[in-house]
Every structure is written in structure tokens, then in C-alpha cells.
């Protein structure tokens, strides 16, 4: 079950998780114990903003400047999936 993440929650990349770019797959990837996530462009942007300072709402605002049609609820559900995969933690 994926629990909801609030807009004022502050996500950060978990300890032991590595974010990198894979030239072989031409994609951003997240590496963690026993797993690899291949990210699409939006997910890669979100992950790069999970810095332990910005809230989910802040991330939505930043991405809203860059892309059209960014919905805070979509960012929250993407962060929730990253929490479920143990890639990010949330405070707040």
C-alpha cells in the first residue's frame, strides 16, 4: 500500500542511495541496495530536488517553472512511490 505524502513533507535521498547517469541506457538511474530504478525525465527532476530542504510543494513550484501542467498532487504521488521503494525519506 502506498501511503499519501503531504505537500509540506520534505523528502531527502536515503543514506546509501546513489543517483547517477547511465550512458548505456541514456537515462538517469537510482542505485540502492538490491535495486536499480531507471528514471524518466520528470522523475529524474524530482529526485534531483529531494534535497532535505525543499518540500513537495516547493518541488512542484520549481518544476512548474520548467514544465507545463505540473500538478502538486502528481509530484506527491511520485514522491510516495519513491518512499515505497526506499529511495527517499520524508520529514514533516
Amino acid at each position: 500500500m502506498i501511503s499519501a505524502v503531504a505537500l509540506d513533507a520534505v523528502p531527502r535521498i536515503r543514506r546509501g542511495v546513489k543517483c547517477t547517469y547511465d550512458q548505456i541506457r541514456s537515462a538517469h538511474v537510482v542505485l540502492f541496495p538490491e535495486g536499480v530504478l531507471v528514471l524518466n525525465e520528470t522523475a529524474a527532476s524530482v529526485v534531483s530536488l529531494c534535497d532535505g530542504v525543499r518540500s513537495v510543494g516547493d518541488i512542484a513550484l520549481v518544476l512548474g517553472d520548467e514544465y507545463d501542467g505540473v500538478e502538486p498532487a502528481d509530484i506527491a504521488s511520485l514522491v510516495a512511490r519513491l518512499v515505497e521503494r526506499r529511495v527517499v525519506d520524508v520529514d514533516g
Binding site: 546509501g16 546513489k18 541496495p33 538490491e34
Partner: protein, 359 residues
């Protein structure tokens, strides 16, 4: 063309200070003089990365027994790979771990045989418990994430609550509780290891409650006892799909147990590149996808969930590696597994455990 693999399991050596009777290494262990050289391993890592692998699991045996481990960690890290050290903890001093962490180990997987010193050391065959507890403390001090791995079987399944408590005490972020899978040494010792139905029924709610209680703190991965199940495990998430194994002598295996399939021609990194082996070898293509399947797998909606189960188990129990995994309730050979359960779960005379040893 097959999709690129995500991980390389590098079995650097079969040498190990522990003698666990369920060891996943083959019964015919590779001896030291047949092990790949440092240069060979560097080339294997290069080829694995070019092929697409992003994780390198440095395993064994005990990888700390390779004097070139620090150099191999540096090399794996320089390729941008996630470096996972899989160890018994024996021989892991604070200084060695600090050096390995500085060179790029990202994560440590530490084996634990049982909840107590007495149980742990009886199963491991040597006094290892105190050193494991110490190794876990070193990992924590280096601020590296820790996974504790415990193989479950008749001798320790009743202690699962204690094992979970021990992993918590060790500061693990993940705990893998894996019921024994019967290949190699574990197959040889099956009559000592197979748990009873009562043991499994008692362990299930304990594990489920701990998963709930520790949510967000320690993830507990529970690997089922497949002989007792109605459906097979999704072995390797499909043959030649996500990961490849290189054995200490350079043999390249679609799964770590694949040497048991004696009809499979195994390729070696001394003769061919990982790229050619992954994409073009008969061994990696033998059971890729769904075309090789027969009935009942071929028409089964679960084939995309369990991929027909385990090829090694099919070969070991039916003599045919392309058969449905006989643990499946739809397999015509399921009665073989039921007979094993009836005769080996509670044998009238329990044989002695054959400890894993190099000849």
C-alpha cells in the same frame, strides 16, 4: 536483443571461514589456484559495466579472503557502479572496513546464522558470532547502510523473533530472512534443513508483525519456503533477464546455482566476452522469455509472474530443466516434492549435517 542486465554477482572466491551446511555455492567448490586473477576481474567489471550492469555484488565464499579486494572495490567504484560487499564479517577489522568504505563500498550485507552465539556458531561451524556483532558495529560507525542476511531452516526457524531482534540491535536497515533453497550443499543436507509445516505456520505471523512494527526503520524481506508453497518463486525474475553471476573460475552463470544443470554448456570469461555470453550464448538463451515453455506453463496466466519457477530445481527433481518447477501445484511432478516433504521434514533419524568444506 535481450535487455541489459542490472547487476553482476562476482563470486570472487569459494574459500570461506564458515562451513554452513546450506551454502549456496556448488558442492564442487573452485579451488584457489583456479580463481581468476586481479586483471581478469578488472576486465570482467569493465565488460559488465559496458553491458549495462550498475551494481556489482562482491561475494564468495568470503570476498575478504582476496588480497586484491581493495583494488577491485576501487575499480568497481570508478566505473560508477553501486558496490555491495557480501560478507560473513569474519576478518572485517575496523581498519579494513574504513579503507574499503573510502574506496567506494556503498553497502554491506552481513550474514547471521542464528539469534544466539551458541546457535550461530554451531551452524557456521566456527566461532563467528562475536566477530559478526563487532563487524556490524564497524559498519554502523562508518555510516554505511547494513543488510543482515539469515538463511532459515529447521534448526533456526523457531528463533525468528530473536533473529529479528538481533538484526535490530546490529543496526540493520534491511533484514533478509530467506528460507533455504535446495541446491548444492543445502540439497545434500535437505533432511536436516527442511522445516516442518508447524514451524513455518508459527514463523509467518511473527515475521508479519515485525514487518508492521518496524515499517520505515528496518525493512524485512521474507523469502518463502518454496517446497511448502503451491506456486513457484519467480526465480531470478526470469532466466538471463536481470543479473549474471561470474564464478571464481570465470564461469558465467545465468543464476548462481546453474552449474547443477549438467546439460547446460557453461561459457567462461577467459574465452568470451560477457557481451557475447549474455546476448548470444546457448546457456543464457536456453530459457529466456516464454518460447521454451511447455504445458502447463505455456498456457498459464501466472507465467509472467513466476516465469515457470526455477530451472535448476526442475532439472534436479525431474531431470528436465525445461519442465515446470515441480513445486508448482500444476506440475505433473508435484508428487515428488510432496514425497520429499513427507519423508524429510521429520525423518525418524535425522542425519548429521555435512559441513561445507573444501576438499
Amino acid at each position: 536483443m535481450a535487455e541489459a542486465p542490472f547487476g553482476l554477482l562476482a563470486e570472487l572466491t569459494h574459500r570461506c571461514p564458515l562451513q554452513c551446511g546450506y551454502c549456496s555455492n556448488p558442492v564442487e567448490l573452485v579451488r584457489r589456484d583456479a580463481e581468476l586473477s586481479t586483471e581478469d576481474w578488472r576486465r570482467v567489471f569493465d565488460q559488465a559495466r559496458s553491458l549495462g550492469a550498475l551494481q556489482i555484488h562482491l561475494s564468495g565464499g568470503e570476498p575478504l579472503l582476496r588480497p586484491d579486494l581493495p583494488e577491485l572495490v576501487t575499480h568497481a567504484n570508478s566505473l560508477g557502479c553501486y558496490v555491495n560487499l557480501v560478507t560473513s564479517g569474519v576478518g572485517l577489522s575496523r581498519e579494513r572496513l574504513r579503507d574499503l568504505a573510502a574506496r567506494g563500498v556503498d553497502h554491506v550485507q552481513l550474514s547471521l546464522q542464528d539469534a544466539t552465539r551458541e546457535g550461530n556458531d554451531r551452524i557456521a561451524g566456527i566461532k563467528a558470532f562475536d566477530r559478526k556483532v563487532q563487524a556490524a558495529a564497524f559498519v554502523r560507525d562508518e555510516d554505511l547502510p547494513l543488510t543482515v542476511n539469515t538463511v532459515l531452516h529447521r534448526q533456526n526457524l523457531d528463533n525468528v523473533a530473536g533473529i529479528i531482534a538481533m538484526a535490530e540491535e546490529m543496526g540493520a536497515e534491511r533484514l533478509e530472512l530467506a528460507n533455504t533453497q535446495y541446491y548444492g550443499w543445502a540439497l545434500r543436507n535437505r533432511a536436516v534443513l527442511l522445516p516442518t509445516r508447524d514451524q513455518l505456520a508459527a514463523a509467518d505471523p511473527v515475521v508479519a508483525a515485525a514487518q508492521e512494527r518496524l515499517r520505515g526503520r528496518m525493512e524485512i524481506v521474507y523469502v518463502i519456503a518454496d517446497y511448502h508453497e503451491a506456486h513457484p518463486k519467480p526465480c531470478m525474475y526470469g532466466w538471463g533477464a536481470r543479473q549474471l553471476t561470474v564464478a571464481p573460475n570465470g564461469d558465467v552463470l545465468p543464476c548462481p546455482a546453474a552449474t547443477v544443470i549438467s546439460t547446460l554448456k557453461i561459457e567462461n570469461v577467459r574465452e568470451k566476452s560477457l557481451h557475447d555470453i549474455w546476448h548470444d550464448s546457448p546457456s543464457f538463451n536456453a530459457f529466456r522469455g516464454f518460447e521454451w515453455m511447455r504445458y502447463p506453463c505455456r498456457s498459464c496466466p501466472r507465467k509472467e509472474i513466476d516465469f515457470g519457477g526455477c530451472r535448476c530445481q526442475a532439472f534436479q527433481l525431474t531431470g528436465d530443466a525445461a519442465a515446470t518447477d515441480p513445486v508448482c501445484s500444476l506440475s505433473p511432478a508435484r508428487s515428488t516434492v510432496d514425497l520429499i516433504l513427507e519423508t524429510e521434514m521429520a525423518p525418524p533419524e535425522v542425519p548429521a549435517m555435512a559441513m561445507r568444506k573444501m576438499p
